[in-house]
């Protein structure tokens, strides 16, 4: 890196009186540093830590440190072998990290880059004596700092000492204690029972009578008979500051963030805005002063930290909520919002540099010791997938539920907000009406009724509240009414009203015969575009086609301009090409036509089914093209990602991935082509519109997508190749569906066309179920018919990734699923190479895959899913794009397939690249999925064709059993070595249970089972204790789970009735974090892994660089 040592030279020249600074403060006593990653993607910890971590690794390595990395998540850029000096894809647990430390003997650990996981692990390493044993220092945040920031008691005490206000609260373990503390706390008071899931037993008491009632209820609900009584902060505003400190105690605020939603909604679930909009300067500076005092008091030594404040809008009283002494989701957002790379800077500060010694990344000429100012508005909106978890409430609380987020940049708040709404990719072109007009549906017809309907609706925070808010304004509620009901600051409501007012005006203008060819039309268009309203939304408002709007807009010369994100509001020239579109006067970015430009589209917000794996592929695409000398342009709107790190692509456009927004960039850039294969389903949806607009799509031709999605064309294709497929058909109506199902026989698998992550995919066993589920499948698809296939019971599913250059085709990997077919491939564990398939089957699968690749002229990547039953191979699905398993395969075989794919798309052959035959690894790698069930109480954890996992881990070792064991530990499902295992399986699984139970007994676990299962086992000579089912009276199995008497659960179920009966068992296992298996295949793999560990309990770790020496 370029360093500004001491003072920039130009300072010296002008000021002779300056005395030189002291010795260079870089920590030369440290040579090697271990960075702990954040593990699998879970709700609350997503790819922002890949972004932060990979920045940190690169910055430290560039500065000459030996950097070691541990992360169990293979779908990360940071775990690419060329990023760190030694990369351990191993479980993030004390035992495994101890082994890594023993092997590598690092001087220090940087625990502030991997979220709460890394901080907790660092703390645990200290507590286990590992740090002392090996003389390893914690950089960035010491053990004491972590303690002071995380322990509520210590934090409160520290805040008291510096006169920082906090919410008044007290713990009570009896009615008397609760009554004693209420005078100080006052009404309304919040009652929160300790250790209950999802806020069970929580309440708000407005008076003494309610309070007495609620505290009794709360004490009863709490397993520890403890409640927290807290001052109510209802309606208070929430703010965040991102703070950085260096070891010379220089402290700067990088970004200020204001939450759109008031207190009560987790900040990860809040719409947030930067910079702060509604505080006077005095209020802001008071908050800033307090942030500096808090950072100093907590003792955050170096690096970034996040402080959350709450402000009473009626009085200005401010309290601190919490501090995170590490980089975070907010710091990733702040980095993207300002252009200031917090993680990179934090890493350099941790090794002793000072802020004024590091140049500002963007201006290059000024130092990093400053506070970014921004001349645009940032809006972040969370992305939810509640549709995946039927049965759970969509009310937003202090428990985070969103699985991803989008960020949008606009000059004004409305412009940014509108861009963010269409970035979400939830089928809404903007603030479209969600509710029926008065008098329709359940909307009252009279004005008073409408008002009270909205006032009630708006009180509850939920994923659609923003849209309801706009509906309310459109239905005539005043800004004050809406602000009062939502407790959202009237300033935000007023800004949204600007949009709804204009939209109303436009649709009225249209109704009275307005057309866009006129001056009035052009003026309205210009106004609308300046507020961020999309062409598609204008089309809806004026009952036109979006292409008409686009044509009218272009005819009137209304085009967006592109401006730079530069940290300094244009005070200095920016050298970093980080751009956003806006409708404003000056086009800051103008480009000469030039050859060699390629655009890669990213994947948009993380959601279940489309997550970090696709960002990994997009980043590899960018890297490959950059290496090949192309000017590589990335378009994406997900602030958590590496792809939106402006250091990665040649030019970054932080923009929604809609046809309108992408096309404006294409018009400016005039690229040679656009790559859509890497971003999952999001960019693929644009393939046809872009192609029709004359844009060249690189790689596999877009028609291929239709050829594999269209049932008839796909049928013709596999017939031609002589490949077997489970019998099936397509249906547009329920009648057709019934006919198809009757013809092929139940059970059948139904699924919509063109969706990812198994959305609305379900196995139905009879006509009643078909009637129930068909409608949802019909409406979840992006047009096209519903596909209906015979479901193969107990088949083994296989995923295959292939790379092709149009003429030669190579299998990347054949992955054998652990769970049987019927479980979504994203939710199933899998093993590479296959651990139980016969060589003949693997050969047949490879042969068929290559035949399909050849027939489809694949240029790039393709994923095929097969089912194997009785040695017979059936094809299930073909996806002509990068798949979720690409990072896993690439890391297992030691070849970056996504990078190769980008190269073949630009004309290289596989022979040029040097990958001409399949690589069969000598080791085993197991991928395991990680689920968010604890966040969605009430949802059943049974696995099915609809994907529900948020993330994945990889276990890699010399045998399948050892790799599987590591994957389970890494997925927070540690297999026990002592205690009682509970077994309850359906009849047809009983035979398969015998060897499992034998393994479990062998390793010393005792077996508890429901009477039928227990009798069966005893019959086979395996000792098993009986326990009551829930329906059989107490004490029953759930009692045993709650009492901690069970260390692992194996539970498979047959029909709907059995599923309902056993649901409390599965819910208790989630609630009490007990390892569980709901498939026989998973249980069998676990039992054999446990048996293997019993024979050889040693653990071994090995860096990826050793698996694949270069």
């Amino acid at each position: 890196m370029t360093r500004v040592r001491g003072l920039p030279t130009f300072v010296r020249r002008n000021s002779d009186a300056i005395t030189p600074l002291g010795a260079m403060p870089r920590r030369n006593d440290i040579n090697s540093i271990l960075i702990i990653g954040s593990g699998p993607i879970v709700i609350g910890q997503a790819c922002e830590f890949d972004y932060s971590g990979s920045q940190a690794v690169r910055a430290l390595r560039a500065d000459g440190f030996r950097v070691l990395l541990v992360n169990s998540n293979p779908a990360t850029i940071m775990t690419d072998p060329e990023i760190a000096d030694a990369t351990y894809i191993e479980p993030i647990s004390v035992d495994y990290i101890r082994e890594i430390i023993a092997r590598e003997r690092p001087d220090a650990i940087l625990p502030t880059m991997g979220g709460q996981t890394a901080l907790n692990t660092a703390k645990a390493l200290h507590e286990a004596g590992v740090l002392d044993e090996f003389g390893v220092e914690l950089l960035g945040a010491s053990y004491d700092v972590i303690e002071r920031a995380e322990d509520r008691g210590l934090f409160k005490q520290a805040m008291n000492e510096i006169n920082v206000d906090m919410a008044v609260s007290a713990y009570a373990t009896s009615v008397q204690e609760a009554m004693d503390c209420i005078d100080e706390i006052g009404f309304p008071a919040i009652i929160r029972p300790s250790f209950t899931l999802g806020g069970t037993g929580g309440n708000i008491a407005y008076n003494r009578q309610e309070y007495e009632e609620y505290i009794r209820w709360g004490l009863d609900a709490s397993p520890t008979r403890e409640i927290l009584v807290e001052e109510s902060l209802i309606g208070w505003k929430e703010f965040e500051l991102e703070v950085m400190r260096d070891n010379a105690d220089n402290v700067v605020i990088i970004c200020s963030i204001e939450n759109f939603d008031p207190m009560g909604v987790h900040t990860g679930d809040s719409i947030t805005v930067a910079p702060i909009q509604t505080l006077t300067d005095v209020e802001y500076q008071n908050m800033r002063d307090e942030a500096l005092a808090i950072v100093r008091k907590i003792g955050v030594e170096t690096g970034g930290c996040n402080i959350q404040f709450s402000v009473d809008p009626a009085t200005g009283r401010r309290i601190v909520i919490e501090i995170n002494p590490r980089v975070s989701r907010s710091s990733a957002l702040a980095s993207k919002a300002t252009g200031f790379p917090i993680a990179k800077m934090a890493a350099l500060l941790a090794v002793g540099y000072r802020l004024n010694e590091i140049p500002n990344d963007i201006t290059k000429k000024t130092p990093a010791s400053f506070e970014p100012v921004i001349d645009y508005t940032i809006v972040k909106i969370p992305r939810y997938t509640f549709e995946k978890f039927p049965g759970t409430t969509t009310v937003l609380t202090t428990q985070m539920k969103s699985v991803g987020e989008v960020m949008a940049i606009g000059r004004s708040f409305p412009e940014a907000l509108m861009k963010a709404t269409r970035s979400l990719e939830i089928g809404r072109a903007g603030l479209v009406p969600l509710l029926p007009a008065p008098g329709e549906g359940d909307m009252p017809a009279d004005e008073a009724g409408v008002r009270s309907y909205f006032r009630e609706l708006l009180r509850i925070p939920g994923p659609d509240r923003l849209w309801y808010l706009a509906d309310a304004l459109g239905s005539g509620l005043s800004i004050e009414e809406v602000a009062e009901a939502t407790m959202i600051d009237p300033w935000f409501v007023d800004q949204i009203a600007r949009v709804t007012e204009l939209e109303t005006r436009i649709s009225e203008w249209n109704r009275t015969g307005g057309h866009f060819g006129t001056d009035e039309g052009a003026t309205l268009l210009r106004k609308a575009k300046r507020l961020g309203i999309s062409d598609a939304e204008l089309a809806r408002l004026t009952e036109r086609n979006p292409t008409e709007i686009r044509a009218a807009r272009h005819a009137a010369g209304i085009r967006p301009v592109f401006k730079k994100v530069d940290t300094c509001a244009a005070e200095f020239e920016a050298v970093t090409p980080y751009l956003y579109s806006t409708y404003d006067a000056e086009a800051e970015v103008t480009l000469e036509p030039k050859e060699g430009r390629v655009i890669i589209l990213g994947g948009g917000p993380n959601r279940i089914g489309q997550g970090i794996e696709f960002d990994y592929c997009a980043v590899h695409g960018v890297l490959a093209l950059k290496e090949a000398g192309y000017e590589t342009i990335m378009i994406n709107c997900n602030p958590e990602t590496v792809s939106t790190d402006y250091d990665v692509p040649g030019r970054l456009y932080f923009e929604p991935l809609t046809f309108e927004d992408v096309m404006e960039i294409i018009d400016l850039e005039q690229p040679e082509g656009v790559i859509l294969q890497f971003g999952g389903q999001t960019p693929l949806k644009l393939a046809l519109p872009l192609m029709r607009a004359g844009v060249k799509i690189l790689g596999t031709p877009p028609d291929t997508i239709d050829r594999v999605e269209d049932r008839k064309r796909f049928g013709a294709l596999i017939d031609k190749l002589g490949i077997k497929q489970p019998p099936g058909g397509t249906a547009d109506t329920i009648e057709e569906a019934r006919t198809v199902a009757r013809r092929i026989g139940y059970p059948v698998l139904i699924r919509p066309s063109y969706v990812l992550g198994g959305r609305a995919m379900v196995i139905v066993h009879d006509e009643t179920e078909l009637n129930e589920f068909f409608g949802e499948a019909r409406s979840a698809g992006e047009g096209g018919n519903v596909l209906i296939d015979r479901f193969l019971n107990d088949a083994t599913e296989v995923d295959v990734d292939l790379i092709g250059d149009g003429t030669s085709f190579v299998i990347g990997g054949v992955m054998e699923h652990i769970e049987e077919a019927g479980v979504h491939s994203g939710d199933s564990a899998c093993c590479l190479p296959p651990h139980s398939l016969s060589p003949a089957v693997v050969a047949e699968i490879s042969k068929q895959t290559i035949a399909i690749g050849r027939e489809l002229n694949i240029v790039g990547l393709m994923n095929v899913q097969f089912a194997v039953k009785d040695e017979e191979v059936y094809i299930l699905e073909v996806n002509p794009r990068a798949s979720r398993t690409i990072p896993f395969v690439s890391k297992t075989i030691g070849h970056p397939l996504a990078r190769y794919a980008a190269r073949v798309m630009l004309g290289e052959t596989l022979a040029d690249i040097g990958l001409t035959e399949q690589v069969i690894p000598a080791h085993f790698a197991v991928k395991e999925a990680v689920f968010p069930f604890t966040k969605f109480p009430g949802v059943d954890i049974l696995l099915g064709p609809e994907m529900k996992s948020t993330g994945e881990v990889m276990g890699i070792d010399r045998s399948f059993e050892r790799a599987f064991l590591k994957a389970q530990i890494a997925a927070y499902n540690p297999l026990p070595s002592e205690g009682s295992v509970f077994l309850s399986v359906r009849d047809r699984d009983k035979d398969a249970l015998e060897p499992i139970a034998r393994n479990l007994s062998e390793v010393g676990l005792s077996i508890v089972a429901t009477s039928g299962t227990a009798a069966f086992l005893r019959d086979r000579g395996i000792e098993a204790k009986s326990i009551n089912k829930v329906a059989e009276g107490r004490p029953h199995i759930v009692d045993a789970l709650i009492n901690g008497e069970i260390c692992m659960v194996i539970n498979t179920v047959g029909g709907q009735a059995a599923i309902q009966d056993s649901k409390p068992i599965r819910q208790a296992t989630v609630k009490y974090c007990i390892p569980y298996f709901t498939t026989m295949a998973g249980a069998a793999a676990a039992a054999s892994a446990m048996a293997d560990r019993h024979r050889d309990p040693s653990i071994s770790v090995r860096p990826m660089q050793d698996y694949h020496p270069t």
């Binding site: 009186a17 500076q285 004024n356 009237p490 005070e571 006067a585 000056e586």
Partner: protein
């Protein structure tokens, strides 16, 4: 909404919508990067004669109130914004920005591509310009002619317009506002000092002083009296002050020879503390020269190195000129430098017990990292009295 134009002397113009008082205002076009504090900026006397472009997009969001002011009214010549909030959303607000601009007869413009204006100033330097309501592109030539006919910013003496006409004592009065419980108030020179102001006497040379400076001095128990800018050294020293504060203020320091001459006579007599224009005048009195920066420093985020501690302060700044010294300058220490461009941010002449800073330690608006400067002044006075 009526159209309006921002026209620069070279004929560049930007379209927008009329905001504030209807009319035309000519002045030097500058930009400020603060993301909050527009009311303090509008009322800061140092912006006299300037049309201030706010780079931050939404202005007016929290309205205006009677307490966040740096003088008795709007002093900036005009305001240029991208988005003017039509609503005041803060419990302290007593009016909207629009109402405030209208009532103070301030001509302003919204809807302007302020980033384009800022980039123009950054690349070409500060420039004279005009905000004109109800104008179209056809009027640009006439407007340019009027801009050229108007006196140049650097040729005007704004200090005499901003300064008090006679000496006044400064006290604090309670506001009832939770966020700013006290604001400054001027009283006659015979009004007895309140009990809390039992400390030494400080004479403030008022070149356009900001209330925040006065408030911070009073909060330190000092007996603060402001004097007109043309008070002579003899007159000032005749009041037996214990310390002298050279205030901030507008305009080109190079044309304030009389003020510099009087300051030179004060040197060594009493501890002296200068801020911004006061710093530039002290610099000149100590043998330095001032020069115009290309586009100045105006914002809340200027990094300043404290040479003694080698620590960085994030400072609020608002100046278009800076001080420099020749290699032969003696008895002067550069105590602070700007880390962005290396210009002098603070100086000390120990033998004269004088020191000054180019930035604004009083903030208002902006960060308060350098607040300790006021304690230093207080300590310096206390030491000299010992």
């Amino acid at each position: 909404m009526k159209p309006a134009l921002l026209v620069l002397a070279d004929g560049t113009h930007f379209e927008g919508e009329a905001l504030g008082y209807e009319g035309e205002s000519i002045g030097e076009v500058v930009f400020n990067t603060s993301m909050s504090g527009y009311q303090e900026i509008l009322t800061d006397p140092s912006y006299s004669g300037q049309l201030v472009t706010m780079t931050s997009v939404h202005i007016g969001n929290y309205g205006v109130n009677p307490w966040d002011v740096e003088s008795d009214g709007v002093r900036a010549g005009g305001l240029i914004v991208r988005e003017a909030s039509r609503r005041a959303a803060n419990f302290r607000a007593t009016a909207t920005l629009q109402e405030y601009l209208f009532d103070s007869r301030t001509v302003a413009i919204s809807g302007v591509d302020t980033r384009a204006v800022t980039r123009r100033i950054r690349n070409e330097g500060a420039v004279m310009g005009a905000i004109v309501h109800d104008a179209t592109a056809a009027d640009v030539d006439d407007i340019v002619a009027r801009i050229k006919a108007a006196p140049d910013y650097g040729s005007l003496n704004f200090v005499e317009r901003c300064s008090v006409k006679e000496a006044r004592r400064v006290v604090l009065k309670e506001t009832g506002d939770a966020i700013r419980p006290e604001v400054v108030e001027f009283v006659g020179t015979t009004t007895p000092w309140p009990e809390r102001q039992s400390g030494p006497d400080v004479a403030v040379m008022d070149y356009g002083v900001k209330y925040s400076i006065l408030r911070l001095l009073v909060e330190r128990g000092l007996r603060v009296t402001v004097y007109p800018h043309n008070t002579t050294a003899e007159q000032l020293l005749g009041t037996s002050p214990d310390g002298i504060m050279l205030s901030n203020g507008p305009g080109d320091p190079a044309r304030l020879d009389d003020e510099v001459n009087e300051i030179r006579k004060m040197l060594g007599q009493k501890p002296v503390f200068g801020i911004c224009l006061g710093h530039q005048l002290l610099g000149r009195a100590l043998g330095g020269e001032t020069f115009k920066l290309k586009f100045g420093h105006r914002g809340p985020n200027q990094p300043v190195l404290d040479v003694d501690t080698t620590r960085v302060q994030i400072t609020a700044q608002n100046h278009g000129y800076a001080v420099r010294f020749g290699a032969d300058a003696e008895g002067i220490e550069i105590t602070h430098t700007n880390l962005n461009d290396g210009t002098v941010e603070g100086l000390r002449a120990t033998s004269h017990r004088a020191f000054s800073v180019q930035h604004h330690p009083e903030a208002g608006p902006g960060p308060r990292d350098a607040l300790l400067m006021f304690d230093q002044f207080h300590d310096e006075i206390a030491r000299s009295l010992r």
